[in-house]
Structures are given as structure tokens and as C-alpha cells.
């Protein structure tokens, strides 16, 4: 792959300009999910998008992935408008998205299979990335034989195996237990630092955001608007018990509390109206 690093440094990897998304446009159930959100992601940056449940952060991510077109606004990747999904931007979902009828190694190599790479070559490459994520001895197992954390690691290996530039992660560790979640966060940072990928990571979990991010974008409750962009300049590895971490946590809690309250009130209002109808 030929990359012009000179321009990449100046250029942003991903740019969102006034992006809006309306679900069910022109129907009675019309919902404004994302409202004129603008931000950009630097090459190699670890960006976390955080917001209360239902604020449209997942919607934003699937628009960047190219799975959903924005209703208004523009999204650019390396200066090109995003027209659809691309192997250059890999998505990691909340649930494991491994295909249950394929062995782990075939899953990891699946992106290459779609490209038409022959079996031997793709298995060789997949094996390398399985080793990278510590699943070498599980290559010929099937997804249901793996734990939740292992399944997510295999999904990450699949994205890396395809040589993706940008990892889009939609609450990837939300379904894991606390210990596994912590291990996976450390693991992800290792991978990110070693591979130099750009990461856009969605979560509603404040500690996770502070632990991982170079920069955190806070979205408001529905409709999702950009509330704040906070740079986390703590050295890694970050200590969740440190006073600096605490300071960031308080800041986020303050920001998000008002939003959660607002979301709740709105929810109650909707329910009241629903019962009246």
C-alpha cells in the first residue's frame, strides 16, 4: 500500500461536517438522531465518543462506517466522501460478529477471502494476527467455543488482518464482565500503539473513555449534538485511582449528569404522551 505520510499528517483521517441523521424521514415516527455534528479525527488518534444512551453515538459510527448515509452534511475519509462501507474502515460491534459456521482462522481471514486471496496466503496472514491477539492455539476452534473476550479479540484480529486504517468500535466491551473488560482495554491500547491505527470508539462508560482516549467527544441526549471535546493528556498506562483520573471523571460526570437528567425527562414526557394516545 502506498501512503503519502506527508499529506496524511496535514490531512485529517476522518472529517464530519454538519452531519445530521433523521430516522424515518417523512413518516409520523420521524426522529432526529444526530443534529449538525462536526468534528475530525487525526491520523493515529484514539478518539472516544461518549454520551447518554440513545444519543445516537452508534448511528454516528455506522455513518462513518458507510453503513448508513447521513441525512445532511458530509463525512470524508482521507479527503474522499464516504459512499459506502470500505475495508479501510473496520467496524467492531458490541456483540461478537464472528460467523458461527466458520472456524476462528477462517473468520479472521474472511476479509481476505472476499478479496480473492488464496487460502494458503490468507491463512498465513491470519495466523500472524491470531498470534498477535493471543489466540494462536484457538485457530481451528469455532466461535461458540470461545469466551466473549476472545471473540472480540478475534474480531479485532479480523480487522487488522485486512490492513484496515481505521477501527470503528461500537461499545465493543460492553457485554463483557468487569475483569475481562479491563484486560481488553489494556489489550486494545497495546494493539493500537503497536499498529498505529486510528480508533473511533463509542461508549457510555466514563472510566472507559478516560482510560483509553487521546480525546473524548461528548454528545448530548437526543438529538445528539456536540457538547464538548476534551483532550485527555494523561500519560499511559493510566491509573484509575489517581487524582488526575478522578478530576477528569468528575468533569465528565458533571457534563453527563445534566444530559442524562434531560434525557430522562424527555423520556417521561414521551411516555406520558404515549399513554394519553
Amino acid at each position: 500500500m502506498v501512503e503519502d505520510h506527508g499529506t496524511n499528517l496535514i490531512m485529517h483521517t476522518i472529517i464530519c461536517q454538519n452531519v445530521s441523521k433523521v430516522w424515518g424521514l417523512d413518516t409520523p415516527e420521524e426522529v432526529l438522531a444526530i443534529d449538525r455534528v462536526s468534528f475530525s479525527v487525526e491520523p493515529g488518534e484514539f478518539l472516544v465518543i461518549i454520551g447518554p444512551s440513545g444519543c445516537g453515538k452508534s448511528t454516528l459510527l455506522s455513518m462513518i462506517a458507510g453503513l448508513e448515509p447521513p441525512t445532511a452534511g458530509k463525512i470524508l475519509h482521507d479527503g474522499e466522501p464516504i459512499a459506502g462501507p470500505s475495508p479501510q474502515r473496520s467496524m467492531i460491534f458490541q456483540q461478537s460478529s464472528l460467523l458461527p459456521w466458520m472456524s476462528v482462522i477462517d473468520n479472521v481471514a474472511f476479509g481476505l477471502e472476499l478479496k480473492g486471496v488464496n487460502r494458503k496466503a490468507r491463512h498465513q496472514r491470519a495466523e500472524h494476527f491470531l498470534k498477535e491477539v493471543g489466540l494462536r492455539s484457538f485457530a481451528h476452534r469455532y466461535p461458540h467455543q470461545l469466551s466473549g473476550g476472545m471473540q472480540q479479540r478475534a474480531c479485532i484480529a479480523r480487522a487488522l488482518c485486512l490492513g484496515t486504517d481505521v477501527l470503528l468500535m461500537d461499545e465493543p466491551f460492553a457485554a463483557l464482565d468487569v475483569q475481562t473488560r479491563y484486560q481488553m482495554q489494556k489489550f486494545l491500547l497495546d494493539i493500537w500503539q503497536a499498529a498505529g491505527k486510528t480508533v473511533v470508539f463509542v461508549t457510555h462508560h466514563i472510566d472507559e473513555a478516560i482510560f483509553l482516549a487521546d480525546r473524548v467527544i461528548i454528545l448530548t441526549a437526543r438529538p445528539g449534538r456536540l457538547l464538548e471535546s476534551v483532550t485527555i493528556d494523561m500519560a499511559r498506562p493510566r491509573d484509575v485511582m489517581s487524582s488526575e483520573f478522578e478530576r477528569h471523571r468528575n468533569l465528565f460526570v458533571e457534563h453527563m449528569r445534566s444530559e442524562v437528567v434531560r434525557a430522562f425527562e424527555e423520556q417521561e414526557l414521551v411516555e406520558m404522551m404515549d399513554t394519553r394516545v
Binding site: 475495508p87 460491534f93 474472511f110 472476499l114 485486512l162
Partner: protein, 299 residues
């Protein structure tokens, strides 16, 4: 939620793996035990049924001319000169049947119809899901044809294909084709969007999504539906054999009735029961293989 950096304990790993073979052995013994138990219950249930029947018959409470006792209709085998002949395709001479010929004839019809119906339904269903216009044009007709029982097609089949394999295979084919086509379209719609999105993000074209995601995802479900319709197909063939197609297991019963030979009738019925059961058991085995990733994932 607070995050506490707890190290995952590794010390239990070797302990677990050493007891794994032990656990497997125990599980095998347990499954063997339940198998033996099941066989015993089968034997008991059958003996009870046959014993009661023989008893009533011996007491003279049954008219054995119409309802012969099991030992009587099994003895009928001796009267059928060719019954035990191991040659397939032995012509029936008068009312004399060759068991193997009849079984093979019936099974060939059922299986040919099923295979043809399955392939055709998969093809049409995928096309209907893939090309919207094709789907819109064909699905209403298929929806209306589906409720027509396969038996209702027999008169037409005999007129169109004449007496023989063609008519019987056609009846099985229509018996499953419409239902399975609708099921295909339905299961395609229900394929987990997560798998489709995954493939799209990894760069799959529409065709690749169809062949690499949708097809493998729907085959197990379709197989379940195929098996559910197996008995309908089986019955349709037997009915066809009784009405017009003069060979196969169904024809044995009909000839028995025409000759007023109740023993031959019941012999045919017993054969249908046993062969039908074995056919379903065979399908269950295949289903286990096809469904392996579903069943084990659900345990």
C-alpha cells in the same frame, strides 16, 4: 462502575483440562445408559401392544379375516414367493411382491422429489429475495399454491405424467416446493443484520453477501422445514401409489384390499411404519451434521 485491575487466575486451567477427559468418559457412559433405557422402553411398549393384540385375537374377539394378528400377517411373507428376493426391480407377478423392490421404488420417489424440490425452492427463493421485481411477480402466486395439499395434485400428476415414477416424484415436488420457497424468502429476511453488516464492512459485494453469508446462514433453518415436510411428502407418495402408480409400498396395501387379503394389507402397513421411521431417523442424523454449529452453540 469502578475498574479494579484483578489478575485473571491461571492456576485452574491445567486442573480443568485433566478432568475434561474424565468428564467426557462419564458423559459417554451416561448417554449409553439412557440409550439402553430407551431401547428397553421401546421393546416393552411394542411387546405390550403386540401381546394385547395377539391375546384378543386368540380369544376370538377379533375378526382375523379383516384384522389379522401380527404372527398371521408376518407369516404372509412365506406366501409371497419373491418377497425376500434381494434383486431390485423384480416385476410383481400377480399379487406377489418383492419387499426390496417396493421399498426402493417408494424411497427413490420420495428422495428424488425432496432433492429436486429443495434445490428448486432454494433457487427460486433466493432469486425472489435478490431481485425484488421477480419476487413481487412470483410470490403471490406461490403463496396461493402453497396450501393445496400434495394429495390434491395426484389426479393431475397421473394425467400429466402417466402412471409411474414421474407422477409420484411430481407430487412430492409440489408438496414441498411452494412451502419451502416461501420459507426461503422468509428466512433470508430474518438473517441477522449483524452478519450482513460485518460482511459489508469487510468489503463484500452484494453477490458475496448472498453466497458467503445468507446461504450458509439459512441452510440449517431450511433443513428443519424440509424435515417437517418429510412426512407430508412420504404420505403423498404412498397415496399416489395407492391410487394409480401401481408399484411401491402403497400399492401393496391396495393389492391386498383388491384381493381381499387383509394379511397382505397389514404386512404393507407394517413395512410403511418401519421404513417411514427409518427415513425420518436418517434425516435426523443428516440434520445433526448440517446443524452442528447451531445445536452445539445453543448448548
Amino acid at each position: 462502575m469502578q475498574q479494579t485491575p484483578v489478575q485473571e487466575s491461571q492456576s485452574t486451567a491445567p486442573l480443568q483440562s485433566s478432568s475434561l477427559s474424565e468428564r467426557k468418559r462419564k458423559a459417554r457412559i451416561k448417554s449409553l445408559k439412557s440409550l439402553v433405557q430407551q431401547v428397553l422402553w421401546w421393546v416393552l411398549s411394542l411387546s405390550l401392544f403386540i401381546g394385547l393384540w395377539e391375546l384378543l385375537s386368540a380369544l376370538g374377539l377379533l375378526n382375523t379375516l379383516i384384522l389379522p394378528a401380527p404372527h398371521q400377517f408376518i407369516a404372509e411373507i412365506a406366501n409371497q414367493e419373491q418377497f425376500m428376493s434381494l434383486k431390485v426391480g423384480v416385476e410383481r407377478t400377480g399379487a406377489n411382491f418383492a419387499a426390496l423392490t417396493a421399498i426402493v421404488a417408494t424411497l427413490t420417489r420420495v428422495l428424488s422429489g425432496l432433492v429436486l424440490g429443495f434445490i428448486a425452492a432454494l433457487l427460486v427463493g433466493c432469486l425472489a429475495a435478490y431481485f425484488k421485481i421477480f419476487g413481487n411477480l412470483t410470490l403471490p402466486v406461490i403463496t396461493l399454491l402453497a396450501p393445496i395439499a400434495p394429495i390434491a395434485w395426484i389426479p393431475f400428476a397421473i394425467l400429466a405424467f402417466g402412471i409411474g415414477d414421474g407422477a409420484a416424484i411430481f407430487v412430492v415436488f409440489v408438496g414441498i416446493f411452494f412451502i419451502l420457497t416461501l420459507a426461503t424468502v422468509n428466512t433470508i429476511r430474518n438473517v441477522d443484520q449483524l452478519y450482513i453488516n460485518t460482511a459489508r464492512v469487510l468489503g463484500a459485494s452484494r453477490r458475496q453477501v448472498m453466497f458467503k453469508i445468507i446461504l450458509p446462514a439459512i441452510i440449517p433453518d431450511l433443513f428443519v422445514i424440509l424435515r417437517m415436510n418429510l412426512f407430508a411428502a412420504w404420505m403423498a407418495v404412498l397415496a399416489a401409489e395407492m391410487v394409480g402408480v401401481n408399484t411401491g409400498l402403497g400399492a401393496i396395501i391396495m393389492v391386498g384390499r383388491q384381493m381381499f387379503n387383509a394379511k397382505l394389507m397389514f404386512l404393507g402397513m407394517a413395512m410403511i411404519g418401519v421404513v417411514g421411521y427409518l427415513l425420518d431417523a436418517g434425516f435426523a442424523q443428516i440434520q445433526k451434521r448440517v446443524l452442528w454449529w447451531k445445536t452445539t452453540a445453543q448448548i
